[in-house]
């Protein structure tokens, strides 16, 4: 096992940040920790990268205990914390050189690992980190986390606040890193990114709701979801919420995801109800369950 977490709990004053967390990550796996702000993701990352000590439980990374063998872990993991981890006043090249030196290596030694990422920011190598855009900072931070060829990579919400194009590129880079044998534990609040992981753990309020492959998690969702659409989203949402048989009503882009309390119900009846409420151009059709649907149901 690359990462092994056993019954980890951590509290701050009267907040239970983590509550009896256990899971394992196999070598070379791309494992996602999926949950919103405040779920405990960052706390867990800090414990696994030896920056914080848990109140209860134990954990190992690459076989080393996070408390007893913390020095060995610090040499062999890459960590990209949330927000910003670079030196703002140093240039791109200076940041990279700095991190390489700290880990006792050089940029040249492991250049082939970061090359694909670094070529995109190389034109700006003399620009200070603080003057880079969000997507560029992210690429630099990733390069710095990889410079010493770590066995395990911890990425804490690496795509928060980043546009969809950069996000997509970032995940493609992660897949290619995985092909090189690096184990990757990544956290995200973007549910669509969960689908890109080998396995995921859904986490909320310090507890794990479910761990499995994205496909399995979605297959466990108990109800059929319907895409519903009408000429006015706001009125549609209100009308559906007032419907006596509604179980859940959530806007999902251009449609509303609707589930009914009954098993098997008549679309026609619902359509009639909505028409009576003055809505037009009504569409009701079955749709595919997503991780986000499952998450919201588990978190209810």
């Amino acid at each position: 096992m690359s990462i092994s977490v056993q019954h980890i709990s951590k509290s701050f004053k009267d907040i239970d940040a983590l509550n009896d967390i256990s899971f394992e990550v196999k070598k070379g796996e791309l494992f996602g920790l999926i949950g919103p702000d405040g779920a405990g993701k960052t706390t867990l990352f800090r414990i696994l990268t030896t920056l914080l000590i848990a109140n209860e439980g134990s954990a190992t990374v690459s076989g080393y205990d996070v408390v007893k063998d913390y020095k060995k872990i610090r040499n062999s993991v890459g960590y990209m914390p949330g927000k910003f981890s670079l030196y703002q006043d140093l240039t791109v090249e200076e940041n990279l050189t700095f991190f390489a030196t700290i880990f006792g290596t050089t940029i040249e030694e492991n250049y082939d690992l970061i090359k694909e990422i670094y070529v995109q920011i190389e034109p700006f190598k003399n620009r200070r980190a603080k003057d880079l855009s969000g997507g560029m900072k992210q690429k630099l931070a990733l390069s710095c986390a990889l410079i010493h060829k770590p066995e395990v990579l911890f990425l804490d919400e690496p795509t928060t606040g980043v546009d969809p194009v950069s996000r997509k590129e970032f995940w493609e880079m992660l897949k290619r890193l995985q092909e090189k044998g690096i184990t990757i534990l990544v956290s995200t609040a973007y549910m669509d990114e969960a689908a890109l992981c080998d396995r995921i753990a859904l986490i909320q309020d310090g507890k794990i709701l479910q761990i499995d492959t994205p496909e399995e998690i979605v297959s466990h969702y108990p109800k059929t979801i319907f895409d519903v659409k009408a000429d006015n989203m706001y009125h549609l949402i209100n009308a559906l919420k007032d419907y006596e048989y509604q179980y859940s009503v959530y806007p999902f882009g251009e449609f509303v995801h609707y589930t009914d309390k009954r098993t098997g119900f008549d679309n026609g009846e619902l359509k009639q109800y909505l028409e009576n409420k003055g809505l037009k151009n009504i569409i009701i059709q079955k749709t595919v369950t997503t991780i986000e649907d499952t998450f919201m149901e588990l978190a209810k």
Binding site: P36, E116, D163, V165, M173, Y250, M296
Partner: protein, 258 residues
């Protein structure tokens, strides 16, 4: 105001040295519209928004917000709009009630109005239990909802939301958007930037900025038809940037701006 446009932008530009951060953009936003202002990181969105909310002067072109000119009446703009961003919304060291009182005062509300609004807000958001708690101790989702309500205390004609739902759990995100719908339904114009493409779908119209220019402006439905794709994420991917080396046949970025 002569017409129904709450925001009117004509050939708006912002230039730093020889770099065109915002390059000749034009658009209008009607009253009660939910307008999505999208673009990749570095496309010029933030620079453009700063001009519209009266904290940065344009280099060329013009704009009016809530009927006030961005050059000559920037202070009036600030008084007549609401603003909420990810980076700053409320004071963590003040309680919920204190925050409302503070911002109410800044917006020039009378004491009685502030009291009234406080009660309504607390009631509508079910904050009775936490009204006297420090905002810093509340979950992010709650803060966002309170911040949004605070941005509306003075009944502005238009509210600017800068990535208001980043990191928030999916349920709260949707509750937030239901608040946006209700606000727009009441006649307030909502100008919102977001990186969640499903949220782009909730907008009446969406504009996408690329390298300082507006490259697309239409309803989500029309944009999807125009680009022959199923969702706004794919519209964005087609439009927002030429491919980089990590994607097949990449050409790479040659410019970078914030």
């Amino acid at each position: 105001m002569k017409n129904n446009n709450v925001i009117q932008v004509e050939n708006l530009s912002k230039i730093f040295g020889d770099f065109k951060a915002v390059n000749n953009i034009s658009f209008q936003v009607k009253q009660g519209e939910i307008f999505g202002f999208l673009g990749a990181n570095g496309a010029g969105k933030t620079t453009a928004m700063k001009m519209l909310i009266g904290i940065s002067k344009p280099s060329f072109g013009g704009a009016s917000v809530a009927g006030f000119d961005v050059y000559k009446e920037a202070e009036k703009i600030k008084k007549n709009i609401g603003y909420m961003s990810q980076k700053f919304a409320l004071y963590d060291d003040l309680t919920v009630k204190e925050n409302i009182t503070f911002f109410g005062g800044i917006y020039g509300l009378s004491r009685n109005r502030i009291k009234e609004k406080t009660n309504v807000l607390i009631d509508e958001l079910n904050l009775e239990e936490v009204a006297d708690q420090l905002v810093g101790s509340l979950p992010l989702g709650w803060k966002q909802k309170i911040a949004f309500s605070v941005a509306l205390l003075h009944n502005p004609k238009v509210v600017f939301l800068d990535e208001p739902t980043g990191g928030v759990d999916p349920i709260t995100r949707r509750q937030f958007w239901e608040m946006i719908y209700q606000t727009a339904n009441n006649g307030t114009t909502v100008f919102v930037t977001t990186h969640y493409m499903d949220e782009a779908e909730y907008c009446d119209r969406v504009s996408i900025m690329v390298d300082g220019k507006i490259e697309a402006l239409d309803s989500p439905k029309n944009l999807k038809t125009q680009f022959g794709v199923e969702n706004m994420n794919d519209v964005f991917l087609k439009l927002a940037r030429s491919p980089s080396p990590t994607l097949p046949e990449g050409k790479g970025e040659t410019e970078d701006n914030e």
